[in-house]
């Protein structure tokens, strides 16, 4: 069992995460009861252990960003439901940790954005994620709004890599 004491706590990493997403401040309330782990689907098929992950964050151990563990979370929110504390938002913490991992370029297998090209492309060209949506796609002039909202987001970089976007650019270049 991980034991946290004042001597091995390092607040730097925790503070960085709280700066980024204020809700993360609540992880300090964790009493290590392990209910989240006992009911977690990811814990059944991998080494994903949210209690240990929170422990690492509180000790300032940034190796958690390199671990494959954080990429096994199903974001099913069961942990949030069973947690005896009201405001610990574990799924949001995981999304935040994955974001940091993305930024630092860790874990190429998990950060392979090519997997998301098709869905990103559909969203930014038709406003939906499937090829033939029931009732048709979003009107083109409204799709423009989504593109504007998503400016500078990771989805835009993924879209830039898509064939559709490359073909569009080629067409634009023709006189």
């Amino acid at each position: 069992m991980d034991v946290n004491s004042n001597s091995n706590w390092n607040w730097d990493f925790y503070e960085e995460l709280v700066d980024d997403v204020e809700d993360n401040k609540n992880i300090i309330q964790c009493i290590s009861c392990g209910k989240c782990v006992g009911d977690c689907p990811a814990a059944k098929i991998s080494n994903f252990n949210i209690r240990k992950i929170i422990g690492k964050v509180l000790r300032g151990d940034k190796s958690v960003l390199k671990d494959s563990d954080i990429w096994y979370c199903f974001l099913c929110e069961r942990c949030k439901r069973v947690c005896p504390k009201d405001n610990i938002n574990i799924p949001l913490l995981i999304i935040n940790l994955r974001n940091e991992s993305f930024k630092k370029g860790f874990g190429p297998r998990y950060n392979d954005l090519r997997k998301y090209v098709e869905m990103s492309e559909r969203f930014l060209t038709s406003g939906v994620v499937v090829e033939e949506p029931l009732g048709g796609p979003l009107f083109q002039e409204r799709v423009e709004e989504l593109n504007e909202i998503c400016n500078f987001a990771r989805i835009k970089y993924v879209f830039k890599a898509s064939d559709t976007n490359k073909n569009r650019n080629k067409r634009k270049k023709k006189p």
Partner: protein
């Protein structure tokens, strides 16, 4: 002050309209939120639409609505503020044309509630406003008010399952067939079952999560208890893409657990879960990786209601993603 909980107050409706909760909806404009995955299961949309029309309710869809974008937020492809802005864009459009929005997908329902919740954080609402300021300048046109955070929208949200449970008396009256005591494995789906955006606010509205069990009993079916009843379908946001073997192990365990107790089929109120549980390619992979061939049929609650109401097979059951033996179940239910 931004009103964050837009769930319809089910308890209040039951209190005020205890004789017939359907009356509450009679003078309301209803809108079906278009879930992307209904493309694979058109019967999910048609099932609720046909029922509402038969009950003489005013129902439509919103042409300007986009995907809820929950899947992009969960995959770290957009920020909370961008997610909230997409959400608010949809909310503005829905608020224009509807009093009540119904959700056939746990994911979409969760997204719309979550987007509002994010706006409670000042940092997110500030960034969302900045995005909207940019939108006003670039694509605002004649309606800049489209790009404002709505403080107190009139529109309210309800999940199809909660709605169907609320109007269960009228629903039962519309049924032509019953479930003939078939054994039914129930899968609520995580984002219905674990919905806990704000434990002090949303949970009382949802109350005990036994509504689908109760409905199946009322339909003449026999809900079975199985070990993995509350477990995830295996979708897990990006899990099927980045860790397919592990994700499908969860799916396999769930289906296997239901088959083991003799369930005739599995029912869910979510098309995303249905996609994971039923996709033929996933079934093949599970058989190859874990040795057992699983052929338990899976169906969405709305599709099941269409069958029970005696609709044509093509109107009820998904044409593009048929699961094994689904016609068998259709035939059993519709036998006179």
């Amino acid at each position: 002050m931004i009103e964050s909980n837009l769930s319809l107050d089910i308890e209040e409706i039951e209190k005020t309209y205890h004789e017939n909760p359907l009356e509450f909806f009679k003078d309301k404009r209803l809108c079906l939120f278009k879930a992307c995955l209904e493309a694979y299961f058109p019967g999910v949309r048609w099932g609720i639409q046909d029922l509402l029309e038969e009950l003489d309710l005013e129902v439509g869809t919103c042409a300007s609505q986009s995907c809820c974008s929950g899947t992009f937020f969960q995959r770290n492809l957009i920020t909370r503020a961008q997610f909230a802005a997409i959400n608010e864009r949809n909310l503005y459009e829905l608020n224009q044309q509807a009093d009540v929005v119904l959700f056939s997908c746990n994911g979409c329902y969760n997204s719309l509630l979550r987007g509002r919740e994010f706006l409670k954080t000042q940092e997110v609402s500030q960034k969302t406003n900045e995005i909207f300021d940019r939108l006003k300048k670039k694509v605002g046109g004649n309606n800049p008010e489209k790009y404002e955070i709505l403080e107190t929208p009139n529109v309210r949200f309800i999940h199809d399952l909660d709605f169907l449970y609320l109007i269960r008396d009228d629903l039962l009256n519309s049924l032509k067939f019953d479930l003939k005591n078939l054994k039914v494995a129930i899968h609520y789906g995580c984002h219905y079952l674990n919905l806990s955006r704000d434990k002090r606010n949303v949970e009382p509205y949802l109350r005990d999560k036994t509504k689908l069990d109760d409905l199946i009993r009322l339909f003449g079916g026999n809900p079975v208890e199985y070990q993995e009843k509350e477990s995830c379908c295996g979708w897990g946001a990006s899990q099927l893409l980045i860790n397919p073997r592990e994700a499908l192990k969860i799916t396999f365990n769930k289906l296997k657990s239901a088959e083991t107790v003799g369930a005739d089929f599995m029912v869910t109120p979510c098309p995303t879960c249905l996609y994971t549980l039923s996709k033929p390619d996933f079934r093949k992979k599970m058989s190859k990786w874990y040795g057992d061939k699983l052929d338990i049929p899976t169906i969405h609650l709305n599709e099941l209601i269409s069958i029970l109401r005696g609709c044509e097979e093509e109107r009820c059951i998904s044409l593009k993603q048929k699961t094994p033996r689904i016609e068998e179940i259709f035939d059993i239910i519709t036998q006179d």
